[in-house]
Symmetry: C2
DNA sequence: GTGGGATCGCTAGCATGCAAACGATTCGTA
DNA sequence: TACGAATCGTTTGCATGCTAGCGATCCCAC
């Protein structure tokens, strides 16, 4: 079981590194790519909403948004109805990058999983879903105190 | 395929977070735990050797080693035969933490994978091995220039 | 034996994550 | 209506990774 998790960690790291390399060719880092992915579908979300969808904390989104703002990928706008809220809007530059980036991601994913059999895909998917459910639903049950 | 990778990423992150929580109870962070894991088996490795075994870069090991030195988990010693080398040696404190930490990791791994069937474990393992081989052996083949 | 290339650890700067503390705004209630 | 609690974004500080560049040491060829 420990070995299974070790393999999972190693594979994920290799994929993340490869993804960062691919995205960097389009002027976007791997974390920023995740923000784009959501905003391409739903522009004008708040940092808090974005954080919830990405399963990260709000400060992480805030910092990433600041870097993306410096890079000219998005702009911040105060919500006119609620002064506490900030809405993140993509720039034309970010919209133009959509096609090549999605293409690059699709290509990378297919390359990585090209040699998997149908059984392996199906069982790996259900196994990962079970692990995710297990880690979110049930308590981690840490040993001592 | 993209969805498969998304699940893989999510599962790995949940596992890493849970691992960090568990390790923190023993005064060790998740990255430091990986260093301990290797040094428990082979004490006195150099930062470069350690980096190769962990699949990280040397600066990463150097920084982690510095934090672990501050935490009293290891000491640096110059190699008497080769002045360029630094050898990392665990302290009694680090040796004493071995049993509880290994127990915590074993428990976490079993908890996470408790509901997997034998087919799922087997196919997930072979799938991950294929992905790893694919990402290390063959070229990433990034689209444009 | 000496000089130049190779090897090694370290530092600096950046990106991505977290938790904790802070400030501003909003909303419900007295 | 005004005040306290809740909500939200931001800042700060830390851990983990990376690349690039530096300085010290070693080793081989001359």
């Amino acid at each position: 079981m420990t070995e299974l998790i070790r393999l999972l960690t190693r594979a994920q790291k290799l994929l993340r590194t490869a993804s960062d390399d691919a995205m960097s060719r389009h002027g976007v880092r791997v974390g920023q790519n995740l923000v784009l992915e959501v905003l391409w579908e739903t522009d004008g979300l708040t940092p808090g909403e974005l954080a919830a969808r990405l399963h990260v904390t709000t400060p992480t989104v805030v910092n990433t948004a600041t870097r993306m703002e410096s890079a000219g990928l998005l702009v911040r706008r105060r919500d006119p109805a609620d002064g506490r809220l900030v809405r993140l809007h993509l720039t034309p530059k970010a919209l133009a990058a959509r096609q090549p980036i999605e293409e690059a991601r699709r290509r990378l994913a297919e390359h990585a999983t090209a040699t998997l059999t149908e059984d392996e895909r199906r069982h790996m998917r259900s196994a990962l879903e079970k692990i995710i459910e297990r880690m979110t639903e049930s308590p981690p049950d840490l040993g001592d105190a």
